[in-house]
Amino acid sequence: MDYVPALARWIHLISGVMWIGLLYYFNFVQVAAMKAATADGTAAGIGKHVAPRALLFFRWAAVVTWLAGAALLSDKFVDAFTLRHGMAGIGVGAWLGTIMLFNVWALIWPNQQKILGLKPATDDEKNRARRLAFLASRTNTMLSIPMLFFMAGGWSHRAVFGL
């Protein structure tokens, strides 16, 4: 048994569950909860104690997932990202995951820092940041659906393409 791919696969799955699990928490639970909590004046607790912790695990789980995935692809990394040599299925999954990682670090996290007051911002900037972070997060939720489909197919593609 080769320990590196086995370990990489295991870490990829654990951190992937944490990343996508927290993404679904934000989109399916926290957005609606924040709206209700803002209405009855209890949103501060979520913004102060829950969101920063969730975001911490969310953004670092994204990095670990990508790195473990890259280690798992190993010498097939280039083939996957260029969709060559029968690696198109997992390659599309890898591309979607990479776009999602970019969204986390380039769009969601910098805008969340403004929303949560970790970075100075005016009210207008905060409103713009809220909309941008929301749309980037929803984009990732949308992309996660095909991403998981192609990741679940693995390298062989037999599960989804029967090839």
Partner: protein
């Protein structure tokens, strides 16, 4: 008589044109009726499913 009919028709056209401009202005004032599917959870999920189907056929054609 013809002149009267013609002027009546032109006035009617002008009225109709004014009406359609007013309707367009009112629609513009109300805002764009098109909604972003990502604003709703169902819109997001359906968009994801549609993208999955499209990519499935793209990958299938690449794999042969």
């Amino acid at each position: 008589v013809l002149v009267t009919i013609e002027s009546t028709l032109l006035a009617g056209r002008s009225f109709a044109a004014t009406g359609s401009i007013e309707t367009a202005c009112k629609t513009a004032q109300r805002g764009n009726p098109m909604k972003n599917p990502l604003d709703s959870l169902w819109g997001t999920i359906i968009s994801g499913l549609v993208l999955t189907v499209i990519l499935y056929f793209v990958v299938k054609s690449i794999l042969g």
